[in-house]
């Protein structure tokens, strides 16, 4: 990491990258999430924890422009528009912002990769989507990134279905970082992986997030993953945020009964 990149992160730290206000999503009578408000700064990793059904994924979908909320605002500091409610943008503007400023890492790599094209092309695609038209440059960029996520480079032209789950997930991460996004959404990125692969991937993601000064929203039900990755935690229960704070504070001195239960339920090795 260079001095200047980091300096920039610090200078921008006063301006929110994402500002969410009173966000609610109802599915008819059912509440997906309710009255969620928070702010994020550049370079910050926010963990959203809670058990399944607590509204984490609904919230993530609302935040990432995939699911219009029933009420509330999702304001993002977009590189082309400044701080705007993403749902006020026209659809093409929003899609362009998603392409340029965001990444989305799915729990299941099959949801985030094109399984019919090679790993290399999957990684290079975001560059093509941004209008890059030089094959050699894009090839080099995708090689660099596959190297960075520790993928065997001889496999670059193989289809992702021939990769192991951990490899697929690393390709997905490369694909979502190659265009230098400002914010990456991660939905249980290590969910389906065995522990050794999970550890390697977490370590990799920590490193990338720090080196790139990237902001990330990480949805997980795994407290250990949250502790390792997140600067700050948001605990959700029944669609509402019941507790927020610095990760170590929330996990070491939880205040809400639900958080206390959640933390005490973690298995110790």
């Amino acid at each position: 990491m260079t001095m200047t990149a980091h300096q920039e992160t610090i200078d921008q730290a006063d301006q929110p990258l994402l500002r969410v206000r009173n966000l609610s999503k109802h599915y008819g009578m059912i509440t997906g999430c309710r009255d969620v408000s928070f702010e994020m700064r550049p370079g910050e990793v926010l963990g959203i924890v809670g058990e399944s059904g607590s509204g984490k994924t609904t919230l993530l979908n609302c935040l990432s422009g995939r699911l219009p909320p029933s009420q509330g605002r999702v304001e993002f500091n977009a590189s082309r528009h400044g701080l705007v409610d993403i749902y006020d943008l026209s659809e093409p503007d929003r899609r362009r912002m998603q392409r340029e400023d965001w990444g989305f890492v799915h729990q299941n790599p099959r949801d985030g990769l094109r399984m019919r094209v090679s790993g290399g092309a999957n990684v290079a695609e975001p560059l093509m989507n941004l209008g890059r038209r030089h094959y050699g440059d894009m090839r080099q960029a995708s090689l660099d990134w596959l190297n960075r996520v520790e993928l065997d480079l001889s496999r670059i032209d193989d289809k992702p279905r021939t990769y192991s789950g951990g490899m697929q997930q690393r390709v997905q991460i490369a694909r979502n970082l190659i265009h230098a996004p400002r914010l990456v959404f991660m939905d249980e990125p290590t969910g389906g992986l065995d522990v050794s692969v999970q550890a390697r991937l977490l370590d990799l993601m920590r490193e990338l997030v720090r080196d790139l000064g990237l902001a990330a929203i990480l949805v997980t039900h795994d407290m250990a993953v949250a502790r390792l990755m997140a600067d700050r935690l948001m605990v959700m229960k029944s669609g509402a945020v019941v507790e927020t704070g610095l990760t170590d504070q929330v996990l070491d001195d939880p205040q809400h009964p639900y958080t206390q239960l959640l933390v005490s339920s973690v298995l110790q090795i």
């Binding site: 990491m1 260079t2 001095m3 990149a5 980091h6 300096q7 730290a13 700064r41 910050e44 550890a199 390697r200 977490l202 370590d203 920590r206 720090r210 390792l228 600067d231 700050r232 927020t244 704070g245 610095l246 170590d248 504070q249 070491d252 001195d253 205040q255 809400h256 009964p257 206390q260 239960l261 005490s264």
Partner: protein, 244 residues
């Protein structure tokens, strides 16, 4: 007891009327009182050592100052970029910034990160502050050498290290940056005499440079070597009645 040559400067830490109690919601909402009406100031160059029986709340106080535990009342102000930041009320971003640049914390236990080598773990606080990796590495090497951690271990993740080895990694990680405020929670617990002396030397050097420190040391020799003042936490003990 040591004398500080930085006396007269504004305190680096100012704790006012601090109160802490735990509420265990899943065990019938019982309240566990710890301390209340606690006041403390620590000036640059001072090393205030917490004393009192075990279980009295020394670690809890230290963690509350660090923002790891949430205060139940009162405030904890820490010098950060020339102004006081109240840790108990500051935004998480602010607390994170204070911790990154102004206030370090050495716990008894090393939080091991899977797959990360010892040396990378040690230089991490520097990288987080934008120091060049090469320079960070050379600082880490001299620190680990002075702590007599075998060079063969440097490239290994410390998960399988002995308690003493892990603790030295932890110390290196905390002293690699010169934090203006440093909280030490039993940093010498499982060290042998030689290494204890090294740590004492590190602490003294930091005090000389004007760091403000709070320490918990069970070891009498270390305590005598570094303490400029004792602070008895038990005198602020909260009664069961006042907690309710």
């Amino acid at each position: 007891m040591q004398q500080s040559k930085h006396n007269g400067q504004a305190p680096s830490i100012r704790v006012t009327n601090l109160k802490k109690q735990f509420t265990l919601h899943n065990q019938g909402s019982i309240e566990i009182p710890v301390f209340e009406s606690l006041n403390l100031e620590v000036a640059p160059g001072e090393c205030v050592v917490f004393v009192g029986d075990s279980g009295i709340g020394k670690s809890t106080l230290m963690r509350t100052i660090y923002g790891n535990y949430l205060a139940s009342g009162g405030c904890v102000e820490v010098q950060h970029d020339g102004a006081y930041v109240d840790i108990t009320k500051a935004s998480p971003h602010m607390v994170a910034a204070v911790r990154r640049r102004s206030m370090g914390y050495v716990s008894q236990f090393l939080r091991v990160i899977p797959r990360i080598s010892t040396i990378d773990l040690v230089i991490e606080p520097l990288l987080g502050n934008g120091v060049d990796p090469e320079e960070a590495k050379s600082r880490a090497v001299s620190l680990l050498r002075s702590l007599r951690l075998p060079e063969a271990l440097w490239s290994l993740p410390p998960a399988t290290f002995s308690g003493g080895e892990q603790q030295r990694v932890n110390i290196a990680r905390s002293f690699i940056r010169e934090y203006p405020v440093l909280l030490l929670d039993e940093p010498t617990a499982s060290l042998d005499a030689t290494n204890r002396e090294t740590v004492v030397a590190l602490i003294k050097a930091a005090l000389d440079k004007g760091a403000a420190m709070i320490g918990i040391f069970h070891d009498q020799d270390v305590r005598d070597a570094v303490a400029t003042r004792h602070f008895d936490v038990s005198s602020f003990k909260m009664d069961m009645e006042s907690a309710a």
